[in-house]
Amino acid sequence: MLVKIIPNEFNPWKYLQEHELQAGKFGATATFIGTMRDYNVGDTVKSMFLEHYPNMTEKHLQKISNIALQRWDILDTLIIHRVGEILPGDNIVLVAAWAGHRAPAFEACRFLMEELKAKAPFWKRETLVNNEVRWVDAN
């Protein structure tokens, strides 16, 4: 299990490539990447600030990873989440689940994203092109 909060831009494919499981022991890898759009609820967004609750956020992500590892027949999980100032096109989150077979990999990956969205302490504050600043309140 890997959980990481990072303040800098990251390349999700590089992380996945470097997260090597033992060859032959897994058959399925499901991943999800959330990337910043330049639009939201009808407005053009210039930049975004991602706030989190240091330590609680990591603790919560470890908790949902543990739940996934217990609930599905999976081998490993990974969650990487960006914080700080970000720009359109920057990756926000990477979630992955490895398993012997596809169904648990797909289901655990989806579960991790839905749980992260529902309860992990992150907050988005976006700056529109007209420099209006607003907290995102839908998810």
């Binding site: 959330g34 991602l50 706030e51 989190h52 609750y53 330590n55 609680m56 603790k59 919560h60 989440h81 926000i92 989150v93 994203m113 992260l116 969205k117 529902a118 309860k119 992990a120 302490p121 992150f122 907050w123 988005k124 504050r125 907290w135 995102v136 309140d137 839908a138 998810n139």
Partner: protein, 76 residues
């Protein structure tokens, strides 16, 4: 002492980042909000945690605890 933290839009609404108070007897999360937030009514959907675990308004807080109030989360 009890440390109380506010995050995101709630920090701006309350106008506080972090506050420390004495841990009295039978101190609940609800009492802390009232004591620290100067009569601001508790907004709907506010989330709260003691020592980084989700909790509710009736939970008891003891000396050394860290309490947090924050708005609905929007990560991912």
């Amino acid at each position: 002492m009890v440390t109380i933290k506010f995050f995101a839009s709630l920090r701006e609404e309350v106008g506080k980042n972090e506050v420390q108070i004495e841990a009295g007897e039978q101190l609940t999360i609800a009492k802390i909000w009232n004591q620290v937030c100067d009569g601001i009514p508790l907004p709907n959907h506010v989330l709260m945690a003691i020592n980084m675990e989700y909790t509710d308004l009736n939970s008891l807080v003891k000396d050394g605890d860290e309490v947090a109030f924050f708005p609905p989360v929007t990560g991912g």
